[in-house]
């Protein structure tokens, strides 16, 4: 396969178009830049938007990490990583967040803060937060242009009326640089504050919807909320009032996945970010020097939890 395709699978023109769109997206923070979104040898909806960004931006000798809901080993992450390794000769892969130059992720931002020299690509199913309130794309464009998000805010209002709080669990509408509101992809609320003044460039790609947008480094990202009903992240406090901890590594400051232990039938909580969990297990943020290209397979039950 690699012989039949250029480096990065896409031809140079396609990559150039993606890069141009990235430049525009960075120049207009939060604006959804349309691009042609090529056919990829996998179904739309499997991360083709993120994949095209990665393939256009990754260079020889650079190191890549691919995760799906925080895990390096779930099917989507493995398939994408395999495909990229196959089509980009000379790149390295890693499971360690701090070792990656480029991270492609589905639905999570790693717990470990990213650095200025890193870049994260998020896979996006639905790029436009306004789609739930306005079916016409023409009208949505006008609304974005005029920063008219009142109808989105009405959704939040109705949420509070019905449930006394904002119940959006993921894809939380977030205003970038005081203008465009983005759908930050299905990351949990937990990850939304990481968008704000992020040191790393955050790129979002929607393959099926043919849109690229960005949260550039050190840019304001503000989740929509009311002055008196502020945005909150997920609460991991248990019945006794204590912050739950990961049953595996003991960390009590990370985003936790909840699942049922099949042997005991009990509710168990574990870090969603596999790399973070492993790092804590190994005694904190020790930087190991091995640059293994094989995923760190230790934690399969979490991956599917």
């Amino acid at each position: 396969m690699s012989a039949a395709h250029p480096f990065g699978f896409l031809d140079e023109h396609a990559k150039k178009e993606v890069r141009r769109s990235v430049l525009k997206a960075v120049a207009i923070p939060g604006y959804q830049v349309p691009y042609s979104s090529r056919e990829m040898p996998m179904g739309r909806g499997f991360g083709t938007g993120g994949l095209q960004l990665t393939l256009s931006l990754l260079g020889k000798g650079e190191t890549l990490k691919v995760i799906d809901q925080g895990s390096d080993d779930s099917v989507n992450a493995v398939s994408l990583r395999n495909f990229i390794e196959m089509t980009c000769e000379g790149i390295h892969t890693t499971t360690r967040t701090e070792a990656a130059d480029l991270l492609q992720s589905r639905h999570r931002i790693p717990e470990r803060p990213l650095r200025e020299d890193q870049l994260i690509v998020l896979q996006v199913p639905y790029p436009d937060p306004l789609v739930i309130v306005e079916p016409s794309e023409n009208k949505r464009k006008l609304m974005h242009g005029e920063a008219d998000y009142s109808r989105l805010l009405v959704k939040l209002y109705e949420d509070i009326v019905k449930f006394d709080e904002i119940t959006i669990s993921h894809r939380y509408p977030t205003r970038i640089n005081d203008h465009y509101v983005i759908d930050p992809s299905p990351i949990p609320r937990w990850d939304v504050p990481k968008l704000n003044h992020s040191k790393a460039l955050i790129l979002l790609g929607a393959g099926r919807e043919k849109k690229i947008y960005a949260v550039p480094p050190y840019t304001k990202a503000e989740p929509l909320a009311f002055e008196d009903v502020p945005f909150r992240v997920e609460d991991f406090t248990n019945e006794a009032g204590h912050r739950r901890a990961c049953q595996r590594c003991g960390c009590n400051s990370s985003f936790l996945d909840e699942f049922i232990d099949s042997s005991t039938g009990e509710k168990v909580f574990q870090c969603s970010d596999t790399d973070w969990c492993n790092t804590i297990m190994c005694g904190g943020a020790s930087l190991s020097s091995d640059s293994d290209t094989n995923p760190d397979v230790k934690n399969k039950e979490v991956a599917n939890g």
């Binding site: 005029e146 009142s150 805010l153 209002y157 109705e158 509070i160």
Partner: protein, 276 residues
Amino acid sequence: MDKVLEVAKLSKVYGQGCPSCYELTGPQHNTNLCFRCGSIVAAHDVSFDLYKGEILGIMGESGSGKSTAVKCLYFDEPPTAGQATFFDDDKRYDLFALNAAQQRRLANHRFGMVYQNPHLGLNFDISAGGNIAERLLMSDMDNYARIRHQATRLLSRTEVLPERMDELPKTFSGGMQQRVQIAKALSTNPPLLFLDEVSTGLDLSVQAAILDLILEIQQEMGTAMIVVTHDLGVIRLLTGRTLVMKYGRVIESGLTDQILEDPQHAYTQRLVASAL
């Protein structure tokens, strides 16, 4: 007295239009359809002014162009020709020279519109309170409790039970939907309100109550209003001055009591004579 609005030579043609459109249409031809090019001259050469706290009536049958004028002013339709100036405190806006964003902003913040069809003025997928919240949110109010309070106040003022504010408008009666529409239109305290056949199609008692409400609001808030109606009763009750339109032209205008008691144009005389 402060002028709120000045409209000069407003025209609206639906269709491609031709040089003969204006000559071949109007009350003297008994049509607003230009037979040469097939265009509809919905309104032509409409001029009037409106002062603070004044209610102006635009009266005519369907197809007279009375709604068209208001639609142009509320930016629902672009005019074919003409000028309109809106005076807002010390600012003045050349309405049709504004770009679309500026127009929408003005319509959302400084104008109010109540349509005959509540579906045009209300979002039926969100609650009555949510409808008012939407307009307040447009004006950058971002405090939930304040929005809630304001919506409750407006709905009580327009006599909608506050305990029903979280229900969808589709569960409301027609009169109640109009009240929610009025509350929504008033939420930003606009100096200019357009009312397009607001009481048409409602039961008589409901109609009367809505008209009373409009009068009370006008007295309390000093809102300038343009009332579009085919109903002489509405004109008599609400307005101080009236324009009479036919086939897209203003055929007569004056003080409302003069229009009703000493109409000059044959058409107006017929209209007044046929009133119940």
